[in-house]
Each structure stands twice: as structure tokens, then as C-alpha cells.
């Protein structure tokens, strides 16, 4: 984002408010004290994740010990943060023993500044318990995440999309190819270092016969 200031300006219809909509470190720090000075009670810090205590948590902790790093509740939603190495075991356990029979979604978030920049999130739902939880594990660049296709068939396309958009590989996926973008496209658009109007110009030139897709 920061290495394309021109594009940002062009896309921002109100350049005078550009500062307010740029989540850079500087701006983030600046308005905060100002807001706190005149309307401190109107903008509380917000709820914080609380430890989640439930039978599943105890069960998973008993089985996997420190592999379950955190079990939290935030805004009424429960999630596990697990060691990347035990992520598959956690999913398997939840699928086989706790009746989480429906994999709602697999997605990822890119935090480039972290040591483990790719956070993969599995959202699970259980029809029997009418309960939804999330399992999160973070991976290094080029470190594969475990594939859940053997547990839920729906993971196939969902993981392909994560691979397409983030470049995260899934170990054990039967057919890991791009799904939305062309097969020979270069780059993974949902990474934070991929600009919003950035394209694979080479691909555009060869396949569409035009100089630029913009």
C-alpha cells in the first residue's frame, strides 16, 4: 500500500481526508489522544477477549496440552489459538469426537510484521450442538498448513481459494491449484504487500493483448 502513493491518491475520492482513512502507524496514534480528551467515555477501549471455559476446552487441553495455546471468547464467539503443528489433530478431534460436522469456512489473514505472518482460520459448526467455533493457527512463509479435505470435503475449494489469494500451501490437499485467478498468474492478491490495483502485467499483456489492465 505504502509503495504506491499515487494509486492511493487516485482511488481516494477525497484526498483531504486521505489521512483519516490510512491505517498507518502515525495517523493511528494521532487522533486517539484527541478523541480521548473530549469524549473519553463515549469510546471505551472495547471488550477484550475473555478466557473461554467449557468442556471442549478441558478435553482438548487434556489431550493436547500446551498445543492449545489459548481458548478465548470475544463478543460471544469462541475460538482456539493452537500451535501450528497440532492444528490437524485439533480439527480431527473436533470433527470425530465433538461432532463439529460442518466446516463453515477456511480463510486466512496476512500479518506481514509477525514472525508467523499467515494466520489460517477454520470456522466450524456443529448441527447437534448448534455451536460455532473458530480454530486459528499461524504459519511461517512457505510453511504448509494441514489440509482438512480428509475431514470435510468442503475444504477442497476453500483451501484452493486461500492458496490462490495468500499462497499458503495445504499439506495433503488432493488438487491444490488456483481457483479464482488464472493458473499462471503471478502473485497472491490478498497479501498485504500486494497493491490494490496491482496486476500481473505480464499475464495481462500475453493473454488479453493489451498493455495494461488498468
Amino acid at each position: 500500500m505504502t509503495d504506491e502513493p499515487k494509486d492511493q491518491d487516485r482511488l481516494n475520492p477525497h484526498p483531504e481526508t486521505a489521512g483519516a482513512s490510512q491505517p498507518t502507524g502515525q495517523e493511528k496514534g494521532a487522533p486517539k489522544p484527541a478523541a480521548a480528551s473530549h469524549s473519553a467515555p463515549a469510546k471505551p477501549a472495547g471488550p477484550t477477549p475473555q478466557p473461554w471455559e467449557a468442556e471442549i476446552v478441558d478435553r482438548l487441553r487434556a489431550r493436547l496440552g500446551s498445543g492449545i495455546r489459548e481458548a478465548n471468547t470475544y463478543l460471544g464467539q469462541n475460538y482456539f489459538i493452537v500451535e501450528p503443528s497440532v492444528a490437524y489433530q485439533v480439527l480431527e478431534l473436533l470433527h470425530d469426537e465433538v461432532e463439529f460436522d460442518y466446516l463453515v469456512d477456511v480463510t486466512a489473514v496476512h500479518y506481514p510484521e509477525r514472525e508467523y505472518p499467515f494466520e489460517v482460520i477454520w470456522i466450524l459448526y456443529s448441527f447437534v450442538r448448534n455451536e460455532r467455533i473458530r480454530v486459528k493457527a499461524s504459519y511461517r512463509e512457505n510453511e504448509p498448513a494441514p489440509s482438512a479435505v480428509s475431514l470435510w470435503a468442503t475444504a477442497n475449494w476453500l483451501e484452493r481459494e486461500v492458496f490462490d489469494m495468500f499462497g499458503i500451501r495445504f499439506d495433503g490437499h488432493p488438487d491444490l491449484r488456483r481457483i479464482l485467478l488464472p493458473e499462471d498468474w503471478q502473485g497472491h492478491p490478498l497479501r498485504k504487500d500486494y497493491g490494490i490495483i496491482q496486476q500481473d502485467q505480464q499475464w495481462v499483456k500475453i493473454n488479453l493483448g493489451i498493455e495494461s489492465g488498468q
Binding site: A20, G46, H110, R132, R134, W152, T154, W157, M165, Y194
Partner: protein
């Protein structure tokens, strides 16, 4: 395994993608090399047939590669992404408010539902709730939108199978819904009807009467569709036992919405995890038993009647009061993340939003029902006939704008 290539036969990574013809040929080469156990009694090669992306019955730009043995479908592969606009990337570069209209462009025949899901997700993240009156307006519009979506589905689906008349009937009646949308917010399709925290517009004078008039008008019309199709011999022959998916398979494949319910799973997010005040309304969850194309038709028709029931109750019970909650002018949700999903006409539509405390979402993930349901196509057409593929694509009710985002 084919010895023609050293690469993984499941990978088309090094195919020549220059022309569709060469692609199909290479595809044939890679995939359809007859396996000994797959030989037919005529020992004929399988035929690979390309369907779409510019095929009217694919409801947009979906490309399906069919592997055929005569008329029998041995396998399919969906090629999607032609409508990919990078909605999730756009979200990261817009403020929460600015992104709101974009969601209408995903499932563009059910824009109201998309907006409802997004607004509620951000509201949850902000820890606020829309006022009751706004919730009722949202329910009325969302249910009208469900009707519109199902009507469009029924018209086009029936057209695919060969019945032309239902298209005229459903489009005629859908028009009345679009007129209400237009009167309410100025737009017919991409409505952008809701705002984070409630609704922007108060209902216009005569809104309730218009809606009730529509409900009265459309009930006998739905019976008309049924009169055309439900016992129609051609319709029954083309849909019964076609594209069957069992409840277990449907759950395994993450299928939701009417497709799941037609397989006998009585699950609807409006009941399971009510949002926007749905717990106040009385309605049933229609289910099927066989999980075939016919049952999905019956389920959707029954759902239309249930939607009308909800609309009636909502109009009768709509409370007075504000339509906008207390929303900060500059929206900066606290650092955190939320997953919120609603029952869109096509299934579970979820939004996973990560906030870093700034005015723009750090990440927005849309869990699209069409995308996930489309994955079940392969399972549903195994062993079916070519003509059934068209019926099954129609019955899943996909909108490519949502599949590709």
C-alpha cells in the same frame, strides 16, 4: 496413471492455455487417458465437453468441463473466477461505510441480504444493535428479497429445463417487489438499503399497504407456478431423482440453504441462530426427503409461502421509533474479529471481519453460499445425463457474482 506425462495428472499447471481448443485437447491428453477399469464395453474413449462460460444455462460465466461416456457424465470440473473483482481486497482499502455498497454486487439478485449480513457483522464488531423498527424494516425487505431471488431462480431454472411460461410469470411478479424496493430506496437491484447501525430511509407513505397488497397479490401467483409445474409430467420427469445428494454428503460438502434442507436437514440460521429479530416471527422450515431437484423446487416454493408469513407478521408488528442506532461518525471498531452469518436465499452467507482499530477493516472475508454449494455439483451429477447437468446447475441456484466475488 498416464505415462504421457510426468506431472501430476490432477494438475493442469503446465497446460498450454492459449486457446480453448488446445486446452481441451491437452486436458483430454492429461485426464481422459482411459484407465483399464474405466473402459466401456465399446472401449470408446471418454469425451471431454466444454460447457460455457458463455452458455445461457450456466447462469453467468461458469465454465464446466464435462467428462462424458456417451450421454453419461463421469466427472466435472468447474472453472470459475471470470467475475472475480477482488471484493475482499477492495474492502481492505475502504472504510467500513464505503465498503457497504460493494457487497450488493456479489449476489446481485439478493442485494438486500448481502447488505443485511455485512451491516450486522459490523454492528456486532462495534457492539451495537439496530433499533427494533430498523430490524423490522430489514426483515420485511430481506424476505421480499428472498421471494425475488426464488422467483428469479424458478423462472430461469424452469426455462433451462424447457418450460418457458414460468419465466414470464415469475418476472411479472418479481417486478412488483422491485417496485417496492425502488420506492423505498431508489434502486431496484443493488439496493444499498441498509446502513451500519440501522436504516437510512424511513418507510415511505403507504409502504405497509404496498407490501400487504403485494402479499395478497402474490399468494395465488405462487399457486399458479405450482399449477404449471408441480404435477407437470415433463417437469417431474426432468427433476425427480435428478442431482440427488444425501444429507450426509451435503453436510460434508458444506452445502447450506434450500439445497441442504431438500436433503432433509431441518436447519435454517433464522431459527438456529436468530438475527435481526427473527426469533419474534412464527414460521416453519420446509424440508424435503429425497434431496433431488424436485424436492429443492418444492422446498423453495414452500419457503416463499413462509417468507410471506414472516412479512405479514412484520408489517403487522412493526414498532414506532428511531431507525438508526447510536453510531459513531467515524467508525473505528475496537481491535478484534467477528464472524457473523445470515440465512441468505442461497444459504449461509457469512462475513468474517478483522479490525485493527482503524477506520478500514484489516480483512474482510465473505463466506459465499453459492461458491460452496457449487462445489457439490460434481457429486450431484455423477452418473447423470448431460441434460441433467443443466438442471442441476439451475437447482443449486448459483449467482456467479457471488461465486467469484
Amino acid at each position: 496413471m498416464s505415462e504421457l506425462t510426468k506431472t501430476d495428472p490432477n494438475s493442469t499447471a503446465n497446460l498450454d492455455l492459449d486457446t480453448p481448443e488446445s486446452q481441451i485437447e491437452t486436458y483430454l491428453h492429461h485426464r481422459a487417458a482411459p484407465q483399464p477399469e474405466e473402459r466401456t464395453y465399446l472401449d470408446a474413449n471418454e469425451l471431454v465437453l466444454n460447457m460455457g462460460p458463455q452458455h445461457p444455462s450456466t447462469h453467468g460465466v461458469l465454465r464446466v468441463i464435462l467428462k462424458l461416456d456417451g450421454e453419461k457424465v463421469l466427472g466435472t470440473e468447474c472453472i470459475i473466477g471470470y467475475l472475480h473483482r477482488g471484493v475482499e481486497k477492495i474492502a481492505e482499502n475502504r472504510t467500513y461505510t464505503m465498503f457497504n455498497p460493494y457487497v450488493d454486487r456479489m449476489d446481485y439478485v439478493a442485494a438486500v441480504s448481502n447488505g443485511l449480513g455485512y451491516c450486522e457483522a459490523v454492528e456486532k464488531l462495534l457492539n451495537i444493535e439496530a433499533p427494533p423498527r430498523a430490524q423490522y424494516i430489514r426483515v420485511i425487505l430481506a424476505e421480499l428479497n428472498r421471494l425475488a431471488s426464488h422467483m428469479l431462480w424458478l423462472g430461469t431454472h424452469a426455462l433451462d429445463i424447457g418450460a418457458i411460461t414460468p419465466l414470464f410469470y415469475t418476472f411479472r411478479d418479481r417486478e412488483e417487489i422491485l417496485k417496492i424496493f425502488e420506492k423505498y430506496c431508489g434502486a431496484r437491484l443493488t439496493t444499498h438499503a441498509f446502513r451500519i447501525g440501522g436504516c437510512l430511509y424511513e418507510t415511505y407513505d403507504g409502504f405497509e399497504q404496498d407490501v400487504m397488497k403485494f402479499v395478497k397479490f402474490v399468494r395465488p401467483k405462487i399457486d399458479e407456478y405450482e399449477a404449471l409445474l408441480t404435477t407437470n409430467r415433463i417437469w417431474v420427469e426432468r427433476t425427480k431423482g435428478v442431482g440427488v445428494i444425501s444429507a450426509a454428503d451435503a453436510i460434508d460438502l458444506g452445502v447450506t440453504g434450500p439445497v441442504l434442507r431438500a436433503s432433509g436437514v431441518q436447519w435454517d440460521l433464522r431459527k438456529a441462530q436468530p438475527y435481526s429479530g427473527y426469533e419474534k416471527f412464527e414460521f416453519e422450515i420446509p424440508t424435503g426427503t429425497n434431496g433431488d431437484t424436485y424436492d429443492r423446487y418444492i422446498v423453495r416454493i414452500a419457503e416463499m409461502h413462509q417468507s410471506l408469513r414472516i412479512i405479514e407478521q412484520a408489517v403487522a408488528g412493526i414498532p414506532e421509533g428511531p431507525i438508526m442506532g447510536k453510531v459513531p461518525k467515524v467508525m473505528k471498531p475496537p481491535v478484534g474479529e467477528i464472524y457473523h452469518s445470515i440465512e441468505a436465499p442461497k444459504g449461509e452467507l457469512g462475513y468474517f471481519i478483522v479490525s485493527d482499530g482503524s477506520t478500514q477493516p484489516y480483512r474482510v472475508r465473505v463466506r459465499p453460499p453459492s461458491f460452496v454449494n457449487l462445489q457439490a455439483l460434481d457429486k450431484m451429477v455423477q452418473g447423470a445425463l448431460v441434460a441433467d447437468v443443466v438442471a442441476v446447475i439451475g437447482t443449486i441456484d448459483i449467482v456467479l457474482g457471488e461465486v467469484d466475488r
